[in-house]
Symmetry: C2
Subunit: 203 residues, 2 copies
């Protein structure tokens, strides 16, 4: 009966994501999102309760881009690996959301769908309930931890270079290993770590 809504949640999330990609996390303000939407600042509050909910919307929007269908022909280990790598690919296209993801992951429906898919594979693999919980949370910790580590201190970045220049007397192993590290790409790093975890899971 009254005036209809002009915006959907995905439209708001997409606008916020555009701001995030363009101006970074610091640039993500209610005012900037409103401008991106062509509205006044306070109009955004017709659609979200507060900034936290806006962030949650963005996180869910990004994670909704993850394909959660399980590749049936693959062995269990590969199925889990594929699901994990899809998250990384999607998030990698919007690196500024990384810090927001862990804060809001647990309220995101898309994240739950992904979790359900992963747990399904673990169940099919024959893991009992208790082992499934631990394995799933370990996977969660690794995937989102790796995203953060890669975001804040990429192997190819200046942090590693600085480590390489360290006095070997103070940090013998760190200095020498850092020199080796710059030759390893982010894909290789993520997959390598994932392989270790999956081997430990014995899938």
């Amino acid at each position: 009966m009254p005036r209809p809504r002009s915006l959907t949640n995905p439209q708001i999330a997409a606008a916020a994501l555009r701001v995030l990609d363009r101006d970074g996390l610091d640039g993500l303000t209610m005012r900037a999102v409103a401008t991106e939407l062509g509205m006044g600042t306070m109009s955004v509050y017709r659609y979200v309760a507060d900034r936290a909910q806006l962030e949650a919307l963005v996180v869910d929007h990004v994670l909704a881009g993850v394909d959660t269908t399980v590749p049936a022909a693959e062995p269990r280990g590969r199925q889990v690996a594929v699901l994990a790598e899809r998250v990384r690919t999607v998030v990698g296209a919007h690196t500024a959301v990384v810090p927001l993801i862990l804060a809001h992951r647990h309220t995101s429906p898309a994240s739950m769908r992904w979790g359900d898919a992963v747990l399904g594979v673990l169940a099919d693999a024959g893991l009992g309930p208790a082992r499934r919980v631990v394995a799933f949370r370990a996977l969660l910790a690794y995937v989102f931890g790796a995203l953060q580590v890669e975001h804040f201190s990429p192997l190819a970045g200046p942090g590693t270079a600085a480590l390489a220049e360290l006095d070997p007397a103070d940090h013998p192993h760190l200095a020498s290993t850092a020199r080796e590290a710059q030759g390893i790409g982010p894909d290789e790093e993520f997959r390598g770590g994932l392989e270790i975890l999956l081997r430990g899971l014995e899938l």
Copy 2:
């Protein structure tokens, strides 16, 4: 010759940590820290360049509490596990710093000492440079990822309870596994995940 400094870095970090423990991350403001130190707000800027540096100071102060000596009598796997568990114990006593740690970990001397110790064990275990890099970063991702996951959505918390109430038709595996999950304590969870990773490392 001029007026001497009245504060050391550890004193500032300790004051900020007290604020953080008492009022949480939102309560950590330059004004609050200044009050805690019994000074005017702007006086704090004689000791830190900006808020980011204050945060870095806190992170390093917390991580400095981690004992990085390697227990010589233990097997390699246990040595790594002990180093990882010490981080978790120390950080667990100040849960509000968790979000700050990943952002500033790579600028912290204490963190570097810890990294050097871990890499030393990995080298002693006979891992070549490339494998060492991947193993180390995987460990980093797991340890700090697990801290964040535990902080934002603890297994015993309301998030898991909410998952357990989910419609099993939508999320069959998530719903049933969540019911199992509440019986698992944080220690068991962290160690279980760590065991998986270490088994994959074949130390």
